[in-house]
């Protein structure tokens, strides 16, 4: 028994020794990464632009403005090409002037420093989606990165085109970043509930979409896209462009297959015959085929441009939505959300953008880069 007790103690001691045997914590060795200088090389081909980007974006906003293509930073399923150097310079200086400087002025520097993207990535080409026949104009990924496509098509004399491809996209993507931080108001999400179509939005006739109270086809894909599109279009489109949208939003639209013809590529807002009751044959006119006139009694009449004696009649608005009121309601919800959640005056923002996009001096903006020492 004593022997057994001895052996038992010995076993316990051995196990304890085994358990107590520890490996000492390794000291951290030197870094395994090479020491690569991150200073800009004054001899570099792109030094002036790189330095300007550093001073204009990286330092103040902690934003990496990437104009040299990094395809690992893109969706590799797309076939994409880099932006040209010159187009990248133009877009960088315009972005600063038309976006960052506007927010700085109205919301203070801290706003974009806090909520602005951390990366803007320029892509020269469109991102085609061959399966749907669509292309991506911009992407905002996780509130961190905004990718802008078609940079090589930039025409710096055409702000409508630039809005469509870039600045509207920037405001659109930024709206996503903002609502990923503070939720889209429920008021907005209820307005067009049931009107969105994520699969066929690209095939819609946009004026008819306007009459449903949605500002663009893309906005008709999902509620959150509608939200971003409403904000982006409100800020960037001119009064004239909005008048055109309201004009279409107020109309009734019909395709030969009926009001809800999902396959129709074109909808019309004029009938040849009142109520389109011509026996067995419906006839329509497009808006640009119609002119306004007055009859002998001074009443307003509408007739075909090429055949003034042919009177035409407006298609009645049967969609059950007051398009103009709906659009205005959505803008108002966005306006309130900006004010309540962000302390920002959406109308002031729009006014500043409108002012700048009508008066920018491209040469002066480029000079900022050219004059970097």
């Amino acid at each position: 028994m004593k022997t057994m007790k001895y052996l038992s103690s010995l076993a316990v001691a051995a196990i304890a020794l085994l358990g107590a045997t520890s490996c000492s914590e390794d000291e951290l060795g030197p870094t395994i990464f090479p020491d690569v200088a991150d200073e800009l090389d004054p001899n570099s081909y792109t030094y002036k632009f790189d330095k300007w980007l550093k001073e204009s974006y990286l330092t103040p906003y902690n934003l990496d403005f990437r104009y040299k293509m990094q395809d690992v930073g893109t969706d590799m399923n797309y076939n994409l090409v880099p932006a040209t150097y010159d187009k990248a310079v133009d877009l960088a200086v315009l972005t600063k002037y038309l976006w960052f400087d506007v927010y700085d002025k109205l919301a203070g520097e801290e706003f974009l420093k806090s909520y602005g993207p951390r990366i803007i990535h320029l892509i020269g080409s469109p991102a085609f989606q061959p399966q749907t026949g669509t292309m991506v104009l911009g992407l905002a990924e996780g509130g961190i990165k905004v990718s802008l496509f078609r940079v090589n098509e930039l025409d710096n004399t055409n702000f409508a085109m630039m809005n469509n491809f870039y600045f509207k996209t920037m405001h659109h993507e930024f709206a996503h970043i903002l609502h990923q931080t503070k939720t889209i108001p429920t008021d907005f999400s209820q307005i067009s509930n049931g009107k969105y179509d994520d699969n066929n939005w690209q095939d819609q006739w946009e004026p008819r979409i306007n009459s449903l109270g949605i500002v663009t086809n893309y906005g008709s894909s999902q509620m959150r896209e509608d939200f971003a599109e409403t904000i982006a279009n409100y800020i960037t489109l001119t009064d004239e462009q909005w008048e055109s949208i309201y004009k279409y939003a107020a109309r009734g639209w019909e395709a030969p297959g009926g009001v809800d013809d999902a396959d129709a590529s074109v909808y019309f807002c004029w009938y040849y015959y009142k109520d389109n009751d011509a026996a067995n044959e419906k006839s329509y006119a497009t808006d640009d085929q119609v002119v306004e006139g007055t009859d002998d009694k001074g009443n307003v009449t509408y007739s075909l441009r090429n055949s003034p004696s042919t009177v035409v009649y407006p298609v009645p608005d049967k969609d059950g939505v007051d398009g103009v009121a709906t659009l205005k309601l959505k803008i108002n919800v966005c306006r309130t959300w900006f004010k309540d959640e962000w302390g920002l005056d959406l109308d002031a923002l729009r006014e500043e953008v409108q002012k700048r996009q009508k008066s920018y001096d491209m040469e002066a903006l480029r000079k900022q880069v050219d004059e970097v020492e």
Binding site: S22, Y45, P82, Q129
Partner: protein, 445 residues
Amino acid sequence: MKRFLYIATMLAAVATATTSCKSEVEDIFDSSAAERTQQAMDEYTAALTANGGKWVLEYFTNSGEPGYVYVFTFHENGSVTISGKNKWIGNAFKSETSAWEVISDNGPVLTLNTYNTIFHLFANPDNVIDPEASSDEIDETGYGHYGDYEFMLMEANDQVIRLKGKKWGVTHYLRHLDSETDDAAYIAQVDDMKAKLFNAKFKTLILTDATGERFVLSDGIKGVFSGYPEAGDAITQVSSANFIVTATGIRFMNSFELMRAKVGADPLEVKEFTYNAEDGSLVEVSETPTIITAPSFSTLFTDQTLSWKVDNTTSTGQPATLYTAVADEIKAELKETFRQFVFTYDKTVGKGSLSFQSSYRNKTYKGNIYFTAETPADNEVKFTFDGTYDSGAKYYYENIAALKQLVELLQSTTWTLQSASRIAPATMQLVSQANAGDVLVVNVQ
């Protein structure tokens, strides 16, 4: 029990003794993966910019179009000057500077990371409309030409760097050029090679392997050969492969596999050919080289679709003398200016024709004197004029003595056909076997 405890104790003791604190394994490499990648990037960067940094890129996109030659000059400041000439950039020499970098991505990768309008167009997903294509060939699929602008650096020495396109996986080569090389002159050199190798008049070429088996190749001028065994079937045994014309010859994007006439036999694989300046053929870079030539000179000279115009400025001996005499007599007799002799084929009579033209004021006069041609050998032709001619030739043949003499001279002997180019013999010499000084020079029309 005692025994059990003893065993347990001993096991614990052994385990304790063998427990090691050493958690590291021996390093296989002297430095970390990141450091080695950086080192490789530095080495490739140095290689690309070494000795003036001038390279020729043999660039391929997809298997349906030819390869394109570009001259690259990599500058140490991160810019690269790219020069080229092809139909996509207006068939004119162009040069443009953009940015480049070696990055660590999929291993060391050469990226051309700002758009260069004369190069990146092949990677652009927008359809680039083929200036030679009809409008119904426009393809808007969003893939463009399937060209790469990022390349994995696979291996390098001071003369050649092998690249692999990162997205599409095609192998490309950068070959070093002397720093003094003029880009435009080099591209012109490649153009010269194209002109030497391919002539639109010669629709087919013949590839002959070391065993003597012959293959018919077509569409070489488009940069994509179609080929089938001459003794085989032109429909079921056809295969195709695209290639690039370089300053020294041609190279296929992938091996060109030609099916042999014997069904089931291993195909013939060819990859690269150099131009043999001695006889104007393409010779495979191989220990048992195949060669590419045009069909035989006699086949081409008697080809019913081809016409050969006499060039009297380079002809010599009696043919040249008689040509001049014909022109003089016609001038004296008819005041007409003699224009040309052409060897051709007259489909209406089914015979070869020595066709001639003269003119007076705004009027042109034409005549045809008919012959049959035998080809005793691949490089020989023998004419037999049977005394027939059309109405346009009647007066001339009966009244211009030198014309008859020329006809007599042509059928008096067998003529040996020669050319400086076996692959595109656009100019041939007919050398009299009776008198080597009698040479008639003809150019394909």
